[in-house]
């Protein structure tokens, strides 16, 4: 669906943000883009949809260069930024004016999403809180029924029940013809939703693997006392004890701890690159 080939991008001539970065997004997945602040998560999303043009390399969506801003491509992609922009009108008026631009927009699903988030469709958008506006915007984004949905920090500003509702709605939307990209630094919120983890660090992709692949390569455990067992890749003291990552040599199953994995990726990127590219 989206193909990023050897892209270079920089905001200043001196320091490139991305250098020969490549990535492919396919249908049927929920990608989690993880990275520190300033790692370039949002910029990469913008590059992928043609909001920012790459210096070299190619970004293609459905085989078309995204710089062309082809409407046949744009009506299959929806990008929701972290801070949403909504005019001073009711949700219903907004839908009436904007929904027509996406031929696949599903009003029934939009109403379903609004109901799930407990949002009144007649409410004025500007009179809503930031979280409510975000819920309305997420509902609209989900209802566009596009093939590629890019959501930048979607859970920022959402209350705890709404985060759960968002996970449920997003999960029920994904099929073989659709993919969702979630850019976040709040990994705990989306841990159960993401099926492919993409970690960005210092202008490169350190990790781009599915949860299954990560599980078969790494073993995640929490131990009360740390006695330096053999082959520990990463350890971190948490309130529950030590979160430990070791190579999964015995092929045991474990639940991926995204936060610990992210710390391993950013602190020991070479270890991760060697492990997964071996």
């Amino acid at each position: 669906m989206i193909d990023v080939k050897d892209i270079r991008f920089s905001y200043s001539a001196k320091q490139p943000l991305f250098n020969n970065l490549s990535l492919t997004l396919e249908g049927g997945h929920i990608y989690g883009f993880l990275g520190k602040n300033g790692a370039g998560k949002t910029t990469l999303l913008k590059n992928m949809v043609g909001l920012r043009f790459v210096t070299s390399g190619r970004c293609e969506a459905f085989g078309v260069d995204v710089r062309k801003r082809d409407p046949h491509v744009l009506n299959r992609i929806y990008f929701l930024p972290e801070e949403v922009w909504l005019p001073d009108v009711s949700i219903e008026s907004y839908r009436k004016v904007y929904a027509g631009s996406w031929p696949t927009f599903n009003n029934d699903y939009f109403q379903h999403c609004l109901r799930s988030f407990d949002i009144n469709p007649t409410a004025k958008l500007k009179k809503m809180s930031f979280g409510q506006q975000k819920k309305a915007a997420i509902s609209f984004a989900l209802a566009t029924n596009v093939n590629v949905l890019l959501l930048d920090e979607p859970t920022n500003g959402l209350d705890i029940p709404s985060k759960g509702i968002f996970r449920k709605l997003a999960a029920e939307l994904v099929d073989e013809n659709r993919c969702i990209v979630l850019s976040t630094h709040q990994v705990r919120d989306l841990e159960t939703l993401i099926d492919t983890v993409v970690v960005l660090d210092e202008g490169r992709i350190v990790l781009n693997k599915s949860i299954e692949e990560i599980c078969s390569t790494l073993y995640f455990s929490t131990i009360a006392t740390f006695e330096e067992p053999q082959g520990v890749l990463y350890k971190e003291l948490t309130p529950k004890g030590f979160s430990v990552i070791t190579p999964n040599t015995s092929k045991k199953e474990s639940k991926v701890d995204l936060e610990t994995l992210f710390n391993l990726c950013t602190q020991q990127p070479k270890t991760i690159l060697n492990l997964f590219n071996a």
Partner: protein, 246 residues
Amino acid sequence: MFSFNRFYEQLKIVLFHGTRKHGTMLLIFLLYFLLSHFNIFNHMTLSDKDPYSSFELITVLAAVLSSIEVFGRLRMVNSGINYLMLPATTLEKFLAAFLYTTIGTFLVYTLSFGVVHALIIGGNNLTSSVELAYSFPSAVELWNVFKTLLFIQSLFFLGSLVFKKSPLAMTLLVIISCILVFTFVMSWQFFHQITFDNNLLKPDEIGSLQAEDAFSMIKNALTIGSWILPFACWTAAYFRLKSTQI
């Protein structure tokens, strides 16, 4: 490939935002136009002055204000993302904004002013013994207003895409600077030509013809410029919109 359906959707969005922003402005101008029919300090009797004297200025002003705001969403990141991600070609988005700020503004102002004027004169003719002529602007007058509107609109239309901060003030600054430079160059050329010609000619041959030639040259340059400049501005605005990044 141009799609009328997508263009219609874009026009709908532009109208939606424009109506909300400029509806109040239209009402204020209409009120002014309505009051300009009357002698306010003389028992609100109908004035002898031509109420349409300010029509050109008001219509052009409305076009300037709508042009400067039509791409206002591109000045902020989140609203800009929303605009650029709308599924339509740059041409469709450009045409929607262009039509709204030119023909749209002109038609709305011409029709609403016409209706107000007709109601006032018609009302007077019904209630008073003195029958007044409607005196609507002629087609030629309207065409001249539209030409002026196109010329001025093109400058602010481009300005709204070029200047992210204070586009109205910045565009005005650029226009004033250009006028000053143009005036200086033309004055220099004008005096240079007259002085140069006078040196070659005998005193009795110096007539008003040289001055007329120089004026005619400036007039021709201005006429050609008044047609070329809007097209240059619209083309520049189109490519600026096409290459906008957020």
